[in-house]
């Protein structure tokens, strides 16, 4: 029995951590700017495609160190894109009606998809995990791919780092205060516009990082952006929008529910994710946790 439960649970956790990596930046930007960035999944996708290109074009990038380095480089690159997006789009959305800003970021997602399609074509591409993470470990009786363990470790690491930053550092506290009351924060002399930009760049950098780290996880296609964003949405809405801790919990919960559900109903993979989101929202509309945390 245990040998059946553990692999499924493992799959669930891998999925959960990869979705959390995607959702973390999204929920951060929403928590501070109150803009729901539909294009977040698109930028994760761009990060993944960039990692793919660099790994394939530049020789000697098969090691774990290179893999991590490239992921960080993708984070920087996408973070820089975030700077541009903040300038051109997000600043203009200040005070704009919710429905319009939703459409604007939705349009950005379409642009991401179009850019990937024109740049890399519509075919499926794949990237192998770096040497050192390509094999598997034996944990008791189980055959666990090392890359799966890496994803789980990465997700937990990013969560801890974010949690630490937001709750224990001065800059994190400034970020939270701006999230709670931007007007008050500006009265206290905080440059709110600059903080907003920091939040956007951080969120986009997280997207790029997620893309770089997760690139070996699946086959790349222009449809990835949409898939990522929907999963991220489900997680943040169940976890409580703007709440990083909630996103982490929700990711684990939904990941396990979906993994076990798929075992029983394999014809419609992924359907339990939607069912779980709908059921949880029906009974607890505000999500599991609330407020910026």
């Amino acid at each position: 029995m245990l040998s059946e439960v553990l692999p499924t649970a493992l799959n669930g956790l891998v999925w959960a951590m990869s979705v959390f990596l995607v959702a973390s930046g999204l929920t951060l930007i929403f928590g501070i700017l109150h803009i729901l960035n539909f294009s977040h999944g698109g930028f994760v996708m761009i990060g993944a495609y960039l990692a793919f290109t660099v790994t394939n074009r530049v020789p000697g990038t098969a090691s774990v160190a290179a893999f991590l380095g490239i992921a960080v480089a993708c984070a920087a690159a996408v973070g820089a894109m975030g700077l541009v997006v903040d300038r051109v789009v997000f600043r203009r959305l200040k005070g704009v009606d919710d429905s319009y800003s939703l459409v604007a970021t939705y349009a950005l997602l379409l642009l991401c998809e179009g850019a990937v399609k024109s740049g890399w074509g519509g075919n499926f591409l794949s990237m192998s995990p770096p040497e050192g993470l390509g094999g598997a470990l034996f944990v008791g009786d189980l055959f666990v791919p090392s890359y799966a363990l890496f994803v789980i470790a990465a997700g937990v690491a990013v969560y801890l780092a974010l949690d630490l930053w937001l709750h224990r550092t001065a800059s994190g506290r400034i970020l939270k205060s701006v999230a709670l009351d931007p007007w008050m924060a500006s009265l206290l002399g905080i440059n709110v516009t600059a903080i907003f930009t920091v939040a956007v760049v951080a969120g986009f950098a997280l997207a790029g990082l997620a893309g770089g780290l997760l690139a070996p996880n699946q086959s790349l296609s222009p449809a990835l952006g949409g898939t990522y964003i929907i999963q991220a949405f489900g997680v943040i809405i169940v976890g409580g929008i703007g709440n990083v801790r909630g996103a982490f919990l929700a990711a684990v919960l939904l990941g396990l529910v979906d993994a076990f559900g798929t075992v029983y109903v394999p014809e419609f993979p992924g359907i339990f994710f939607f069912v779980a989101v709908a059921v949880i929202i029906l009974f607890r509309p505000q999500g599991l946790l609330s407020g910026i945390r």
Partner: protein, 329 residues
């Protein structure tokens, strides 16, 4: 006692232009070539799609990012019904498509309108719409990823006489008539009592709540009407294009009505229709370039939101208002 002011000017210009456009559509097969007629049929369907979407967007103030799911539901349900029960009168398979759309919008509305937040609604309609897409793509009876092909244009049996819609442009004329009727019904909702309440809900939901209105129920009803009409549009389209694939349920297809509303202007009833017609030219010109469609649609949407929030009709209204003021000086 003073005279009440004209509460809403049903001016002369709007019905005149609408009538002209309708006449142009209705007479198209007599003066345009085949390809254009086909495109016009698609545009008529998209006009209905956009007008019903705008009931939620422009009138009630909520963006539904999964509207394509209703369109697909109507198309697939009616096509499947027609195929499974060949003797069934056409109108009943269309009605079945509309009923499936109604049931879906009822269920999705229950979850997505649970909280009074537009962001919440946006996320859930996107996610649940994508669920429909996934289910359609994996269902064998609906053709999985390949969809349904060879959908026949039906024969209408009125007992005393029969009309074979498969010959010539006959189905096109059905589309014209159906689009006119459905648009008329939507026009009635928009300009009538329900529309007034919805517009009020968009502006000040708390005030409406304290006028004794169950705001959530009204939003759910608006969503129900919107979803049903969208499903009708889908059901009518299936025999026109004769092939339907799961792509018409994909979230990117939901972008089209949003774009038409923004392009043409969502504050005025006919704005989405203007947007649909204007965009038809753009889309037709770029259909062969990979990735171009997303870039054009995404770029156009972004541009319109940032630079032209009122859309074409809104900008025209502002300009004509400015001209009127300057003329009065």
């Amino acid at each position: 006692m003073p005279h009440p002011p004209q509460s809403r000017s049903f001016g002369v210009l709007t019905p005149l232009v609408a009538g002209l456009v309708l006449a142009a559509f209705a007479t198209l097969p007599f003066w345009a070539e085949k390809g254009l007629v086909f495109l016009a049929g698609i545009v008529l369907v998209q006009i209905v799609f956009a007008l019903s979407f705008n009931l939620m967007f422009g009138l009630t103030g909520l963006v539904s990012f999964g509207q394509a799911a209703f369109f697909a539901a109507g198309a697939y349900a009616s096509a499947w019904m027609a195929r499974s029960a060949p003797g069934l009168p056409f109108i009943l398979s269309i009605a079945f498509g509309a009923a499936v759309g109604a049931a879906l919008s009822f269920l999705i509305g229950l979850v997505a309108l649970r909280r009074a937040s537009g962001i919440y609604f946006a996320i859930l309609t996107l996610a649940l719409g994508q669920l429909i897409y996934t289910v359609i793509g994996k269902t064998t009876a609906l053709g999985r990823e390949d969809g349904l092909i060879g959908i026949a244009r039906p024969v209408l049996d009125f007992g005393l006489f029969r009309v074979d819609l498969a010959t010539g442009d006959r189905y096109y004329f059905l589309l014209v008539v159906a689009a006119a009727i459905i648009s008329g019904a939507l026009w009635w909702v928009w300009h009538g009592s329900l529309g007034r309440i919805l517009a009020a809900i968009r502006q000040e939901p708390e005030r409406v709540r304290f006028l004794g209105v169950d705001v959530r129920r009204h939003r759910e009803n608006a969503f129900l009407i919107s979803g049903t009409m969208t499903a009708l549009a889908g059901a009518l389209m299936a025999p026109w294009s004769q092939i339907i694939t799961p792509m018409i349920a994909h979230w990117s297809y939901s972008a089209l009505p949003i774009l038409f509303c923004l392009l043409g202007g969502s504050a005025r009833f006919w704005g989405p229709a203007v947007g649909a017609i204007v965009f038809a030219g753009l889309e037709h010109g770029t259909r062969n370039m990979t990735g171009m469609a997303e870039l054009v649609v995404g770029g156009a949407l972004l541009l319109v939101v940032l630079a032209m929030p009122g859309g074409i009709l809104g900008t025209l209204a502002r300009l004509s208002g400015r001209l009127a003021r300057e003329g009065a000086r």
